[in-house]
Amino acid sequence: MIAPKRILTEEMVARIEALAPRYPNRRALTLPAIHIVNAELRHVPLEAVAEIAGVLGLAPAEVQDTLTFYQFFHQEKPHGKVRAFVCRSVSCALRGGDQLLEQLCHKNGIEPYGTTPDGELTIEPAECLGACDFAPCILANDDLLKNMTPETAEAALRQPRAKAT
């Protein structure tokens, strides 16, 4: 059942409501609202989905339907403080993207989409990051890591990094 404790803070709700004048209806706030919660919590638990639905006047199933479509939002627990998307599309794959993902996961002892036990790092495959000029590349929070090798990537991912926007 849905926990009675509020997950969405006043601040989050205020930021959602601040976007309302941009759109002619509440439903269009769905993805922006999900992003606002995700940016703070690094995941969007089911309780938050139900609260977002309440704020927007939608059924929880409608919000969850939209959310799960993107195959992007973690829901069960937060992803790592650094979320590393390793590109596996054609241009990066031609320059070692698949091997980069495999070796990075192996070095960190996790499966793709997994998070290290210390909660610091999540490694996920991504489709074309639009940085084929720097293939193979990784998007780590807001930072594009260019021309990566397994060694340079491992070092780069351990650098302190601002949280994702």
Binding site: L29, A93, L94, C128, G130
Partner: protein, 451 residues
Amino acid sequence: MQPFKPVLLEAVGVPDGNTLASYKSRGGYAPLEQTLAGRQSADVVEMVKSSGLRGRGGAGFSTGLKWTFLPKDHPGPIYLCVNADESEPGTFNNRILMEDDPHQVIEGIILSSFATRASTAYIYLRYEYPTAWHRLQAAIDEAYAAGYLGKNIRGSGFSLDIYLHRGAAAYICGEETGLIESLEGKRAWPRIKPPFPAIEGLFRKPTVVNNIETMACVAQIARRGVDWFKSIGVPADPNNPRDPGSYGPKLYCLSGHVEKPGCYEAPLGITARELIDHFGGGVWRGRRAKAVIPGGISMGLMTESELDTPLDFAGPGRVGCLGLGTAAVVVIDDQTSIVDFLHNSCRFFAHESCGQCTPCREGTSWSLRMLERIKAGKGRLKDLDLLAEIGNTMGMMPGSTICGLADGAAWPIKNAIKKFRGEFEDHIKRTNPSGWMVTDPVPALQIVGAH
């Protein structure tokens, strides 16, 4: 080759080139001021129409003509959606435009909104471009502060708001009605057409969806003129009244097995070989090209012997590719297995298929599973026939699907099997000596984390 002085990319490498001040120092926003001061919306539509500008997002439809599909005298609101979802593998030109010259894009958006009488422009920006997000927002804020956005811009009576709307890593949001559904807060299942967005689009109002690079072109056409634009590229074939020509400069993305991957601006119509050799430093490591993607992975493959095909809107189609697409050229060298390439393509499309219509949802999934099996050494010759059949029957063009993702998924399959069948057959026979000839169904592989 004549060197081409970048226009769309003129701000690249310029310190603080993304600021309003820098843009104005290069002549920016003067065209907007002049337009708002003395021209009508219809004038701008006519300007873009006569320039021969064709959309840069992949479909290549005449931009000015698309604008005329909007209903006349509609009470509004009319919306402009700017497609910044750039997710076609191999493509990154929009990223560079947004990061390095956001004001060029914004001026184009304001001019286009003025032309179409849109009151709100949403830039649907893919999640994976955080730098572009920050730079665009900063530029939008500068534009509001300078009075180029908001109510009654420069006293013209024209008002416009531009809002950034962030995506969440789904390729199908680059399809215009998938984008619209996503913006409306729903799953991004493209809509059936008719009705077309110009009649019933975002929030069921008349809507135009245009690409980022197209917007930049509009700004440059307004600044440098229709004649300038038409002096670049490939003129329309005078013997073919239906050929709209391929005018203007184009941003070509070059990546894969080349020495110098990058985004290069050139007149429409340069060939793949010219792009690779003159801009890209040639195929890397002294190797030869086995296959080249002409315009993003959806367009299929050209063989090495087809590299002299001009990369304009008509060229790639003549060698059996889907079209120019995003003009993102990806080079595959002769030491790369074509099986690996096709597996990568099938994996991408199976992951990105929105799932609403049967042939694409099941066809992309089935083709991936066959490629997984072929890669694992359990392929059959019959699989090539099945893949060719899927390639030939799934898509908007045969009419079997709602949107063009399926055509994009089909073309690499069709081209790869047709143009590289020998390599597939060799691979299959070599890796599955005991089973390549089996025609009855075989057990599936255990798929571990396929997508």
